[in-house]
Subunit: 259 residues, 2 copies
């Protein structure tokens, strides 16, 4: 499935303004202003000025929250987003309820206590973000994340992402019965997204600290409906298979600066 | 959600020809002709004449199968359909590979060996059929069954049905994580069906023989997206709640002869 840009010329606009650059700018600015976030249940609240608000909007981290303080702008980050800025990009510090800055280990433990599957979902989130995909909640499509090639204002999300963990310990996970697979593939098809499963293998490293993450490996698989009618009419033969496979690797892989 | 008839006057046509009557006619004819089915992997094949073919079509049991024998008409019944005709309506005998007629107990064991969840899925199938719903496979919507108020030629299916079993032993079942619930409700909404979960409680009766079925109890729940906007604008107040609740009980209940 090709990326569906939301209008003419938007692909060129995205090419001219790569996501990797925007995220780098955000990183620099957050470090420069020594930005602090406040832990608040399952999210992190950040007070920002106009410049940072613009960068957070453009890089798609968090959502602006309207408050009674008209002159102040707050952003609410999801757990994965906050941890990515803290741990991976090292540009945000998070303050706990006791007023002290949380270490990465403390934050990791806190997020795990709020969301049992946080280690797996974070691995998937950071894996895709590192490859310059814009990653947002997949709540409304019944998946963990959706992945965009660039800002959602420019392009529709291409992938509906399920974060799965390798092994038998994930008895409550998704896609364990065929009816769930059918349901998910059908829904993804109807909203023009490809189902991407990112399967995380912890390699028996556990999840005691965020340093475990570097030992986690991921395997990406797209699941699509095979349409025999369409495949039969396609005359490219063996080439077709190769092409499709390459395409999937590419799409599920890194978004290059020139998308 | 109201039933969506496929054309003008079709509701009247359905009223004039209740499903309960068609199924009774099928039952009588199958008994009269001493019809035999042949066990074939996960289905039962029945050779029928034009009259029986018409009745099977009108009552929506099985699907016609085209064979090389032009003068003969075969129907392929799913396991639940075949067992319903054998065990509940007592109008079909099934012959095994050894040429002898299978007892209900033998058929039960065979179907269980082919489909682990057969006792639960059969309970749900027979429960809805007893209430005069037409029940078909829900494969293409990622659910176990779809339920129609009358023949699918006249009306769209109203319910997407998931057969669930009560208790902790169903670790591979559906709707165990929120993303699965979101996915299923969203898909059902997009195809204008209401999600109906039929939860079977075996009351510790096991599943050793089909006689266990009479001790099984079922609980029906519809799962729908609550739209605050719509609910707020509805001015009927408390009445609304009562009305909705009654409506659900009615729809998920027996389809009366006058639908």
């Amino acid at each position: 499935m090709m990326p569906r840009w939301k209008g003419k010329g938007l692909q060129a606009k995205a090419n001219a303004d790569p996501m990797s650059k925007i995220v780098s700018q955000l990183q620099s600015s957050l470090i420069q202003f020594e930005t602090r976030g406040l832990l608040s249940s399952c999210s992190v609240l950040v007070e920002v000025d106009a410049e940072l608000a613009d960068l957070l909007n453009r890089s798609c981290f968090g959502r602006p929250r309207i408050t009674a303080q008209e002159d102040k702008q707050w952003f609410q980050l999801d757990m994965e987003e906050a941890f990515y800025l803290c741990f991976s990009l090292k540009c945000l510090k998070v303050i706990g309820e006791d007023g002290s800055i949380k270490s990465n280990e403390e934050l990791w433990d806190y997020f795990k206590s709020k969301k049992l599957v946080f280690p797996v979902s974070y691995k998937v989130y950071s894996h895709l973000r590192h490859k310059n995909w814009v990653v947002r909640s997949g709540l409304q499509y019944g998946v963990d994340f959706v992945a965009y090639r660039h800002h959602p204002a420019l392009v529709h999300s291409e992938y509906a992402v399920l974060a799965l963990s390798e092994g038998d310990n994930d008895l409550n996970g998704r896609l364990r019965v065929w009816s769930d697979v059918h349901c998910t593939v059908r829904l993804c098809g109807s909203v023009a997204k490809t189902l991407l499963t990112v399967i995380v293998n912890s390699n028996n490293q556990g999840a005691n600290s965020p340093s475990c993450l570097e030992h986690y490996t991921v395997e990406q698989r797209t699941i699509t409906r095979w349409n025999p009618e369409r495949s039969r009419e396609d005359q490219t033969g063996p080439k077709n298979g190769t092409k499709k496979s390459t395409k999937h690797n590419d799409l599920a892989g890194t978004v290059k600066d020139k998308v």
